[in-house]
Symmetry: C2
Subunit: 469 residues, 2 copies
């Protein structure tokens, strides 16, 4: 049995951020090469701290879904996941045994040589009849002073594509370092030019800065009076959103696996879910969710919608449907923390037992595993001081927060959360497994609270107390 874990950045504010990771997870589930594909995030749930607990097997491959190496892939992800590794990840990844699970952590997908194929695929989408006679290719990177690997990967891809002979010329150009993208009319000679942005997703750079720097007006732009004669530019979509990235992920996973054996079901995880299912078969309330067994399937809905005829509610039939419906509040706000008491109403889900597990995983990520562990006295609490000490970068300053500041922010942020703050000394004797719906443990401060404490320390947390990230 094998688990694949895809790691994204996520966002406390914006629901779009996790979308790309969702799509790859679904593509990879479709391939059927892993028994499960789980998503984890820095700023959403399951968090980097929780995601390993939510995997069902003892053989885990973790892929950072980032376009380049850097602070997240080398510092944040390994640290938060407890991989006992910091700094550049070697080719083939690193492997650790953590709590009985073999965890392999790979390079980000963007540095894998197979990305050359993705660039080529994007180029052919933009200009299907690109030819070595008259077509130039620009591989366009961000470029940065913070990580030299970032531009090296662009050059390597350009080299491979030049060697492939598919194009008359291949250039590596950058937004933020030389050779700059604005120089293209001087360096590119071919009459047809395909531009492939080596970016993770559509965004400000692909939609604004690149078109502006290059003078593009759409997917195809004509330049009649250029130094090397008339030119036509075909602007491709960013590589990071191409379906072929799923193949790159599989390459990475296979290379990381090496001669590794087959994993087994992880016993604690299985025990947690069997306990949950046993309760569920008799009907159960978990947080704000009412779970009712019905002739071999299960119905989930908001507790406040109990008793409503099914026809009054939107009926969902997949775990992904539940995930998407409950990612926003009834007011349309993003829900980075799923245990906040803001579960939307107006829906029901009808699911079989396997889908129920996945739906509950999406509804309340890591809650079944953590609650079961708590009931077995096996949930480790991380006090605030330890959480704070671990922080780096812009979050390092939370180490300056006084206990009173932390408690003040927690009073506001956590009072709307179902979880009981064990890490702050709160006591939880009965959980939803004991049929107390609101009994959910909180083992450590989440990144949302950490971010709010940072705002407090920075003096930016006014009456409105929203943080901006």
């Amino acid at each position: 049995m094998r688990s694949l874990v895809l790691i994204g950045h996520g966002s406390h504010l914006n629901g779009e951020s996790a979308g790309a990771v969702y799509r790859y997870a679904e593509l990879l589930r479709g391939r059927g090469l892993f028994d499960e594909v789980i998503e984890g995030y820095w700023k959403e749930e399951p968090s980097l701290r929780q995601v390993l607990k939510t995997t069902a097997s003892t053989d885990i491959t973790v892929i950072p879904m980032f376009i380049s190496e850097g602070y997240f892939t080398e510092t944040v992800i390994p640290r938060e996941m407890g991989l006992g590794h910091q700094g550049p990840v070697p080719e083939g990844g690193v492997a650790r045994v953590i709590g009985g699970r073999t965890v392999r952590y790979t390079l980000p997908y963007g540095v894998h040589p197979a990305m050359t194929d993705v660039i080529l695929a994007r180029a052919h989408e933009a200009l299907p009849d690109a030819s070595p006679q008259d077509t130039a290719l620009i591989v366009l990177g961000h470029g940065t002073t913070r990580n030299e690997n970032s531009s090296r990967v662009i050059y390597q891809n350009a080299d491979r594509l030049r060697d492939s002979g598919h194009f008359a010329e291949v250039h590596a150009l950058f937004l933020d370092e030389d050779p700059k993208v604005g120089t293209w009319p001087e360096v590119v000679k071919a009459p047809r030019v395909v531009v492939v942005p080596f970016f993770a997703s559509e965004g400000w750079h692909t939609l604004e800065t690149i078109p502006e720097d290059m003078g593009l007006t759409g997917t195809v732009t004509a330049f009649p009076d250029h130094p090397h004669g008339p030119q036509q530019v075909f602007y491709a979509k960013p590589v990071g959103t191409h379906a072929a990235v799923a193949d790159v992920v599989l390459h990475l996973a296979e290379e990381a696996r090496g001669a590794g054996g087959q994993g087994d079901p992880e016993r604690g995880h299985e025990a947690a879910w069997q306990t949950f299912l046993e309760r569920a078969r008799a009907g159960l309330r978990v947080g704000e969710v009412l779970l009712t067994p019905e002739l071999g399937v299960f119905e989930l809905r908001h507790m406040l919608d109990e008793g409503l005829p099914g026809g009054e509610l939107v009926t969902l039939v997949t775990p992904e449907g539940v995930r998407d419906r409950t990612r926003v509040t009834d007011g349309g706000d993003h829900r980075p923390v799923h245990t906040l008491r803001t579960l939307p109403r107006g829906w029901r889900a009808v699911l079989n037992e396997a889908d129920l597990r996945r739906a509950v995983h999406y509804l309340y990520p890591a809650v079944v595993e953590e609650t079961y562990a708590h009931s077995c006295h096996a949930l480790r609490h991380t006090p605030w001081a330890t959480t704070a000490r671990r922080q780096t970068g812009i979050y390092a300053k939370v180490q300056k927060a006084t206990p009173a500041q932390v408690e003040h922010v927690a009073q506001e942020v956590c009072s709307g959360c179902l979880r009981t703050r064990l890490w702050a000394g709160e006591r939880l004797t009965f959980t939803f497994l004991d049929r107390v719906p609101g009994g959910l443990p909180c083992a450590e401060a989440c990144t949302f609270l950490v971010a709010e404490v940072r705002e407090e320390v920075s003096g930016k947390r006014g009456a409105g107390h929203g943080h901006s990230h």
Copy 2:
């Protein structure tokens, strides 16, 4: 059967505001002269728009718990309660028949002649052996240019107290108009001086401005070198918080009643509560509350606390206990709107049937009456335009809000509320009386939403979107 309704201002931000009205309601309940004593507020619940619906009888006396006449007593309260009256209220009050109820609306307690006794009581508290030989009394008013009655009442009280012969001298002095309080060393000759602030409650004026203007350092201050010789000042508490105000309220109520007859139980109200109790006897969920019948009594608790042993919860045994426990969120924030999904956890209430009614009235004011009316197709909806048109003073500007602005604010404010916005065209087919816990009607925009729309129109509603009143 007779109902007494006490009207306070209330606050969207501050839980203290309603406290004084609560205390008088409890004192007056203790007197037993009315079958019920109900509190209503402009900025809390039950609101001025709802409070009449929550009264059980057809004979209602409404007392504005204000120290002086003015905008609230003459404009806001009569308008919001639908009394068909605007402007100064005659002595003896006004009476109207509204929806089968006889409603008498009186002057505010502060203008009643019996306040003279309250001033005297406060004076004797501050200086029990005050004597006509050596003691002067200062009746201290705010004074204002907006309502001349305000100072007239102070003069009338001073005149009556002068005539009573209890003091060597009696002076009427003011904070904001002549004769100013700062002139007291010139005008007051007696060696002992009692100062009684004619204010509704302790606050900035009684705690800061008056002591500063008079040079007071505590409840007793000595002035050895004054124009008329050494003087000692005894500073009394404000009149508005004296228990004897309850007697003033009863005087007002009796005078308003005149030759009025005895009221009857209001049938719609009684039907609503009988329907509710019938459901409750079989166990019921109302909003976030779980209601369980237990051997002749009822247990109430937060739904999320279902299944917790009683010993894990704070046990409440009075409706007032429930009221006070649920007036703030788990984060300690004031809850001006009771149907927001922020009901605190951690408590249970054990109550008999009569107390259950009052506790549910406090938990979800007007919800039983409005939901029952809705289920009988008798709940009138007030569209936004009508609500906006009614607004005056600083809220008149909500009339400028576009439908999109109103909807934008409502999306944010109302999405956390249990109620379904019938006034905005939302549909509610099943209510908690049909055993759908979250099914609660909203007949019109509440003052909280009106205030938020005002902030939006004023451009003051940022990401933090808290209004400041």
